[in-house]
């Protein structure tokens, strides 16, 4: 059962921030697909809260291109909305695929991309792709607006760099981080739906002829937060795309990963996936199939 103290529906960003800042017991709720689960499970810090609904704030919704050609995604845009959006499909189809791999249709119809990131989970399906694109998180709070790279936003498992009273308003993807790149996301999970990733791998690759100009490899569940395989990325620069080189890249990716044994999967198994998935993702992104 849900033990909730109160519910306040904000209609503007300012209203939401004022309420959040002024009430120690407040908790933002967007789609509720994480917050309500935790409330039902009586997780500490999630019972008896004053919930602040932000789903009907118009400025937090929708996907747009700004004047510089950057993509702006409102934080309460649902997974389904991201998945089906024309701008996303045309420019960053891997993010569409990542959002389309979340849970099931009911969850995707209400769960939001902002919530997915703000929840701070390493397994968040949209997060590894946002990492691969060096997404920028836009926050607004009582002190005003600020922006930060997504890799600084994640502090640890379930921990993000948001202050009391702050609201995530947008996720920004700079043009330079997706133009001329091809991307692909692979979610490895036991089930084809309604599942959490055992490992998520998202890549962005830019090539000239058969040479890699730039490669970005991001993982979910390869560490306490989503990570980038920076060592492999540096090595890949200028590499010819051959089976041997892809093997080298896969192996190198292990250097940034910190997979561990848990009852969900062994370290060795996760490492095999860390090795294998970027190779496949690169091949698929470049249209080579598997």
């Amino acid at each position: 059962m849900y033990q909730i103290n109160g519910y306040f529906e904000a209609s503007t960003i300012k209203e939401a921030i004022d309420y959040l800042a002024g009430n120690e017991n407040s908790q933002v709720i967007a789609g509720g697909t994480d917050v309500l689960i935790k409330t039902r499970e009586r997780k500490s810090g999630y019972t008896d809260k004053d919930l602040v609904g932000i789903m009907r704030i118009p400025e937090l919704k929708g996907i747009n291109l700004d004047d510089d050609g950057n993509i702006l995604i409102g934080s309460t845009t649902t997974f389904t909305e991201v998945e089906e959006d024309e701008i996303i499909l045309r420019n960053i189809p891997s993010l569409s695929a990542a959002c389309g791999s979340v849970g099931g249709p009911q969850i995707r119809n209400i769960g939001t991309i902002g919530g997915n990131v703000a929840n701070g989970a390493t397994s968040a399906d949209s997060a590894s792709t946002l990492f691969a694109m060096d997404a920028v998180i836009c926050l607004e709070g009582p002190e005003g607006k600020r922006e930060m790279p997504i890799k600084e936003f994640y502090l640890g498992p379930g921990k993000v760099a948001m202050n009391k009273g702050e609201l995530m308003t947008q996720i920004k993807i700079l043009k330079e981080n997706f133009m001329c790149f091809k991307g692909h996301y692979i979610k490895f999970s036991q089930r084809k739906a309604m599942d959490i990733a055992t490992l998520g791998c998202s890549i962005m690759v830019k090539t000239t002829g058969n040479k890699i100009d730039e490669l970005k490899v991001a993982y979910g569940v390869a560490g306490p937060t989503p990570i980038r395989a920076t060592e492999a990325e540096a090595m890949a620069k200028g590499m010819e795309i051959t089976a041997e080189n892809l093997d080298l890249i896969g192996e190198k990716c292990l250097e940034n990963a910190s997979a561990r044994d848990s009852w969900r999967a062994s370290k060795a198994f996760r490492q095999q996936l860390i090795r294998e998935l970027p190779k496949r993702a690169i091949k698929i992104a470049l249209g080579g199939g598997e």
Binding site: M1, F188, Q190, K192, A193, D195, I196, S266, F269, Q272
Partner: protein, 769 residues
């Protein structure tokens, strides 16, 4: 015999009500002044409650009362949905209390809150302070059996039972063998995941008896166990079962029913409901027994079995529930499928601190089938004898007595199932195609697997089998059907209605079934389990239908005018009309006749038949699974490309419902073979994945097209030539899938579920088959 309704895919009578949401389940029935109950669960895995402080919990607004072990009867009772045993030697073990001070598993039921709302009850339950004395806990039989282990139940040494069954002499049998093969395997703890969680409420009725409305497979047995739990005459209780959202054996056990009655008793008979959460159902109702096997068999060089020695160790968890019956069943099932001249079957059931294992669809047979059919696969690989051929050399034959179960089978059509299966599945073509691709360097490899099984129809001769049926001819010629057999979603009421319509000679729509089973009203029948109802209860339905038909024809004769009488032997009922057999002429409608039987001034009476039928036979159903898989060697992912079940269940009463049964069982078998396992934390004993996110039951997306075929050879024992079908479908998919994975990879994977991780581990170690 020509059938008009049996063998037809009539639409189940409750289909529209269910898909439109009009069907009322336990939680849908409104109650005045309903109170809610919540169980307070132990936070240790093994030990004793030393002290309990409920003062803070009582302060939560809305809380009415809190029950502790001091507030419930000091009576131990059994919970298994077995018929009562007159011989105390065979009685189910009585080891449960409504609430316990002895904690035997994490989450054991130590107190219960009654409140005005579910939330208040839940908050209060979290505020109960408990002091424990903690013992060492055991998550596996090996740990529970070690020297000096603390006894989970006093005086047991943690052994619930150990038995041995023997035929011939295994030493002689092994001496006669040209070669001997040995293997070991283990099966996991899994959960039923029926859609509707356990839910029940109880109240004191106007006649001062206790009514329990519950989602149960066994209403009559549930009433008996309530009587036992309270030490009161069984007639003081009434159990009512509305529509049920599945059970799969999880509700062939008494779980929350004694508690809701105790709660209602504590509040002066007001209705109190307990509605378990999914997490509670996973962790603290019942699970499937994890069984490990050591198998050793001797063969002649032609592949004929000379001896078999099987040792099985079963993890029963913290309470007896169905206990040893599950692993014990494996012996008789082995000799039901294979002819083994020298056989030894040793079985041990062990208490541990995991969830109590009880009945689950298949009742030990998916486990033994996994052991046998992966073993036969190994023999086939080692000898090069084709796997169908190897089995055919050793199958039992008709009219032979099962040396352990002492039943003679009149039909056994596995050979026909194999032939039909291979043809439909295009086994040989698939084999050629796979062999052709064998040497390509792809990451993806394909393989074929098969596995066969035997099952039983009902539980005779292990326990008594009785079915009850009452039929009433209504005033318009329609017929009211009343059975004690339990409709739990499988369509039992629909096939009973078909039996009545077919036997009496009326349209299916004229039979009126019932969503409710009410122990005050329904004839006695032990309920839905052991794949028994179409077979055992079907016999009672047939007996009642034959009797009512005779009465109807007698009435038709009696009411016809003197001088105009047709000899009774020449009367029949066809499509709801009384006809003259020899020329098919309609004499009157059944409705006209029925009206006369009620209202004739001199000789009217309501025509009924009310029978109880003892079944003293059993007929074994058989079947086979054939499957093709593709395995990703780099990630261990298994894609099931196709899967087919072929069943010998005798005459199929309703092909559409039967296919549905088979498809559901196959999907469950898929989960069993590839994905599902309830896991426990080694450090705390707490269940780790008692939820549908972390417990990897397949979704619709993970299940391929499920192909189903039947070999319909009528069995002379079944009431309509039918044998059982309820549980059989999930017995063979898991070993067939595992065998296909082995075939694809050429490496050895031992235990289910065969997860991607296990495949990667086996590949990296290059384990030989």
């Amino acid at each position: 015999m020509e059938h008009k309704v049996i063998g037809k895919s009539v639409e189940r009578w409750d289909a529209i009500a269910k898909v439109t949401g009009r069907a009322n389940y336990t939680g849908d029935i409104p109650q005045k002044e309903l109170l809610y109950g919540k169980i307070c669960r132990a936070k240790i895995t093994h030990g004793k409650v030393k002290n309990m402080d409920i003062s803070e919990a009582l302060k939560v607004p809305g809380v009415i009362k809190i029950l502790t072990p001091d507030d419930v009867p000091e009576i131990s009772f059994p919970t298994a949905g077995h018929p009562y045993s007159l011989d105390p030697k065979f009685a189910d073990i009585a080891d449960r209390r409504i609430l316990t001070r002895n904690v035997r598993l994490y989450g054991d039921e130590i107190a219960a809150v009654i409140a005005e709302s579910e939330l208040a009850a839940e908050i209060a339950a979290s505020k109960i302070k408990v002091e424990y004395e903690e013992y060492e806990f055991y998550l596996s039989p090996e740990e529970a059996l070690k020297e000096g282990a603390v006894e989970i139940h006093e005086g047991t040494k943690n052994i619930l039972a150990a038995t041995k069954a023997e035929i011939g002499d295994i030493d002689t049998g092994f001496k006669e063998a040209d070669f001997i093969v040995e293997d070991v395997c283990a099966t996991p703890i899994i959960q039923h995941c029926q859609m509707e969680n356990q839910i029940a409420y109880a109240y004191k009725d106007v006649d001062n008896r206790w009514v329990c409305v519950t989602s149960t497979q066994i209403p009559h047995i549930c009433r008996r166990i309530l009587g036992q739990a309270f030490g009161m005459p069984w007639g003081r209780f009434r159990v009512i079962k509305p529509f049920i959202g599945g059970g799969f054996g999880n509700k062939q056990d008494v779980t929350i029913e004694p508690l809701v009655v105790a709660m209602s008793m504590a509040v002066g008979g007001k209705p109190v409901m307990v509605d378990l959460h999914r997490e509670e159902v996973f962790g603290w109702t019942r699970v499937r027994h994890a069984i490990s096997y050591k198998v050793k068999m001797g063969f002649t060089k032609d592949g004929v079995i000379t001896a078999a020695d099987i040792e099985a160790t079963s993890n029963n968890g913290a309470y007896a529930s169905h206990g040893h019956a599950i692993v014990a069943k494996g012996g008789g099932i082995t000799t039901a499928i294979y002819k083994i001249p020298n056989f030894r079957y040793r079985a041990k059931t062990v208490y541990t601190n995991t969830a109590a294992a009880g009945a689950m669809r298949g009742y030990g047979v998916p486990q033994i089938t996994y052991a046998l059919e992966t073993f036969m696969n190994k023999v086939s690989i080692q000898t090069g004898i084709d796997q169908f051929e190897l089995r055919e050399k050793n199958l039992t034959k008709v009219n032979e007595e099962n040396p352990l179960l002492h039943m003679v089978q009149h039909t056994m059509s596995l050979r026909e199932c194999f032939a039909k299966g291979k043809e439909i599945f295009k086994w040989d073509d698939k084999r050629k195609s796979i062999d052709k691709d064998k040497n390509t360097a792809s990451d993806y490899v394909r393989g074929l697997g098969m596995a066969a099984f035997a099952y039983t129809s009902g539980a005779y001769p292990k326990t008594m089998e009785i079915g009850g049926c009452r039929l009433i001819l209504n005033q318009d010629g329609s017929i009211k059907l009343m059975v004690g057999a339990t409709e739990i979603g499988q369509g039992a009421d629909t096939v009973f209605s078909q039996m009545v319509a077919d036997t009496i000679g009326i349209p299916f729509e004229w039979v009126i079934a019932d969503a409710y089973t009410d122990t005050d009203i329904a004839p006695f029948d032990t309920g839905a389990y052991a794949s028994r109802q179409t077979f055992v209860s079907g016999m009672a339905v047939k007996k009642a239908a034959v009797e009512l038909k005779e009465k109807i024809l007698q009435a038709a004769y009696d009411f016809s005018k003197i001088g105009n009488k047709v000899p009774i032997e020449d009367l029949d009922i066809v499509d709801g009309n009384i006809i003259q057999k020899h020329n098919g002429q309609i004499l009157e409608t059944l409705g006209d006749l029925a009206l006369k039987t009620y209202y004739d001034l001199h000789s009217g009476s309501c025509l009924t038949a009310d029978v109880s039928n003892k079944c003293t036979k059993n007929a074994y159903p058989y079947g086979v699974t054939l499957t093709e898989v593709e395995v990703d060697k780099k990630t261990g992912k298994v894609e099931v490309l196709s899967i087919l079940n072929v069943h010998d269940s005798g005459k199929i009463i309703n092909p559409l419902l039967a296919s549905g049964q088979v498809e559901g069982g196959m999907a469950q078998g898929l989960g069993y073979g590839l994905a599902e396992e309830l896991k426990y934390d080694e450090k705390t004993g707490k269940p780790l994945n008692n939820n549908l996110l972390d417990y990897k039951m397949p979704t619709f997306m993970d299940v391929p097209d499920l192909d189903v075929a039947f070999v319909e050879i009528e069995d002379p024992v079944g009431p309509y030539g039918n044998k059982s079908l309820g549980e059989p479908p999930l017995c063979s998919p898991a070993p067939a899938l595992r065998n296909a994975i082995i075939d694809a990879l050429g490496i050895y994977v031992k235990d289910i579920p065969v997860t991607p991780q296990k495949i990667i581990e086996a590949l990296s170690e290059n384990r030989e088959v």
